[in-house]
């Protein structure tokens, strides 16, 4: 195992019943990298993100995050791994009955942060994504771009080593997509390893980063 490698997959297969979602996937992503996982719909991008997040388990093969062997990890230890990984989804996955502030602070409460440390951290991250003035708003009252920035703030408030984003710009127009991607770049410059799954080739070309291309569940291209 490489010292610099943060995420490693070794001959990973994933089946859903008879359907093959991923076939013999092997790669490694180094600490501090910015990587796009791209490919057409149904290529297996979301499945790959789910496997890295520990939401799904591989049918075969090994996944290593840092020094943790994810594929053989006991389920009760999985929450601790997930706390080191921030996740952002296309549909934001925000709790609609909680304010922006509470949605973000929930991630810290889950980790058991003392109350006194939660407020300054949430205020700081909301400031970083430009939502300080919307802290008391609820998600349904926000635009798509704002909701995605809340999701991003929630994913980053715990200062995870890895941020996984599954089609984070899928529901946004080009301008808002660029805004989100630039925010991700900013956090990447601060040391967070970022993996973005997207089918948007134009977005991939718009900023520098590694590219892993999937097609029908197989890796068909790797660009460093």
């Amino acid at each position: 195992m490489s010292d610099q490698a943060l995420i490693q997959m070794f001959h990973v297969h994933k089946n859903f019943g008879q359907n093959v979602a991923l076939w013999d996937i092997s790669f490694k992503i180094e600490k501090g990298a910015f990587v796009f996982v791209t490919g057409p719909s149904g290529a297996g991008k979301s499945t790959l993100i789910s496997l890295m997040a520990g939401v799904e388990r591989p049918s075969q093969g090994r996944i290593v995050i840092g020094k943790t062997e994810l594929s053989s990890l006991k389920p009760r230890l999985m929450p601790a791994v997930r706390r080191r990984i921030g996740i952002v989804f296309q549909d934001f996955k925000l709790l609609k009955d909680l304010s922006v502030f509470d949605n973000v602070s929930l991630a810290l409460e889950v980790c058991g942060y003392p109350r006194a440390r939660i407020r300054p951290r949430v205020e700081k991250v909301l400031g970083a994504v430009g939502l300080s003035k919307k802290a008391r708003s609820r998600p349904p009252g926000l635009s798509g771009g704002e909701q995605q920035r809340v999701a991003l703030a929630r994913a980053l408030v715990t200062e995870p080593t890895i941020l996984l984003a599954d089609e984070p710009t899928g529901n946004l127009d080009w301008e808002l997509s660029q805004e989100i991607i630039h925010l991700l770049q900013r956090f990447n410059r601060n040391g967070t390893t970022i993996i973005v799954a997207t089918h948007d080739r134009q977005l991939v070309r718009s900023i520098p980063g590694g590219v892993l291309t999937l097609q029908a569940g197989r890796v068909v291209g790797v660009e460093a």
């Binding site: 997040a53 939401v55 389920p75 009760r76 929450p79 601790a80 791994v81 997930r82 706390r83 996740i87 996955k93 925000l94 709790l95 929930l106 991630a107 810290l108 409460e109 889950v110 980790c111 058991g112 942060y113 003392p114 109350r115 939660i118 929630r154």
Partner: protein, 302 residues
């Protein structure tokens, strides 16, 4: 580090108590009805128990002496006092007994006129200790006392107490069984309510799981909700019982032939033990109902 997690669980649990009010009210009212009925039975049991204790305390063995034993009754009293289970004795000479009888007869006391004191026997009233009141001991004591040659007859009016005790035992067992059934029914309704709430918040559970929440962080608010429902039900039940007590106090003691229950004064329903039992049973019932509901559906969230 656990502090904010616990705070978050409690906050979310209390918040859930305010959601889907009609469904939650059904659960609360069912549990409250169960607790009220169980509480009434418990209060009735306590009152009967107090009555039985008081009755036992006042029961004495009455020893009637043979005619002509007046001269020896002080010596006899000493012998009776030395028996096991005897607290003390009260001596009534023939004359004193006759006078007491006259008092009891009131306006018909004239019936005793012309009768000599020897017509009415001297009496020794025997007070018993707690040990002496123990089951079976009064009868044994009566047998021992009747062996003394000065004694004509010894009587212990324990039948009433025995019958009351027997009724109390049967009532207690019936009350326990009925309370258990009622509280189980209330628990089942809380179980169903929590299960529905849990199913209805699937998206929230999924999100919490994704951000690294452990099972207890996800389940906690539902346990708080179940316990809260039980406590609210307990509070309503206590209010109903208080109302029942106030109403009972307005009824003349003998209206429904329940005079003996008022023997100790007004019937007490609300006391500290009942408050603890009702609130405790409500909270525990709610917690267990919620726990069972989550146990069936948690699956992969553990």
């Amino acid at each position: 580090m656990v502090g904010s997690s616990l705070g978050s669980i409690l906050r979310r649990g209390f918040k859930q108590l305010g959601l889907q009010l009609p469904t939650q009210m059904v659960a609360v009212l069912s549990m409250a009805a169960a607790l009220t009925l169980a509480g009434s039975a418990y209060a009735f049991h306590l009152q009967l128990d107090r009555l039985a204790v008081r009755l036992n305390q006042e029961l004495r063995v009455v020893v009637f002496l043979k005619p002509g034993s007046n001269d020896n009754y002080r010596a006899l009293a000493g012998r009776i006092s030395s028996l096991e289970g005897v607290q003390g004795v009260v001596l009534l000479s023939s004359q004193e007994t006759r006078d007491r009888l006259g008092d009891m007869l009131g306006s018909q006391a004239g019936l005793l006129e012309g009768l000599g004191p020897e017509v009415v026997p001297a009496i020794v009233e025997v007070e018993l200790t707690a040990q002496g009141l123990a089951r079976g001991r009064p009868a044994a004591l009566v047998a021992e006392i009747e062996k003394f040659r000065e004694v004509d007859e010894a009587v212990y009016a324990g039948d009433v107490a025995d019958r009351l005790e027997s009724f109390l035992n049967r009532f207690t067992n019936l009350g326990r069984a009925l309370s258990a059934v009622l509280i189980l029914s209330g628990m089942f309704i809380i179980y169903a309510t929590i299960r529905l709430a849990f199913m209805g918040r699937q998206e929230e559970r999924e999100i919490l799981r994704l951000i690294g929440a452990r099972g207890w962080f996800i389940r906690g608010p539902f346990l708080v909700q179940g316990t809260g429902l039980g406590l609210v039900a307990g509070g309503i039940s206590l209010a109903l019982l208080k109302g029942l007590q106030t109403w009972l106090w307005t009824i003349p003691p003998d209206r429904f032939g329940t005079g003996p229950l008022w023997y100790l004064g007004e019937m007490r329903i609300i006391d500290l033990s009942l408050v603890s039992v009702i609130l405790g049973a409500g909270a525990l019932g709610g917690l267990i109902g919620a726990w069972l509901a989550l146990g069936r559906v948690m699956g992969g969230d553990r």
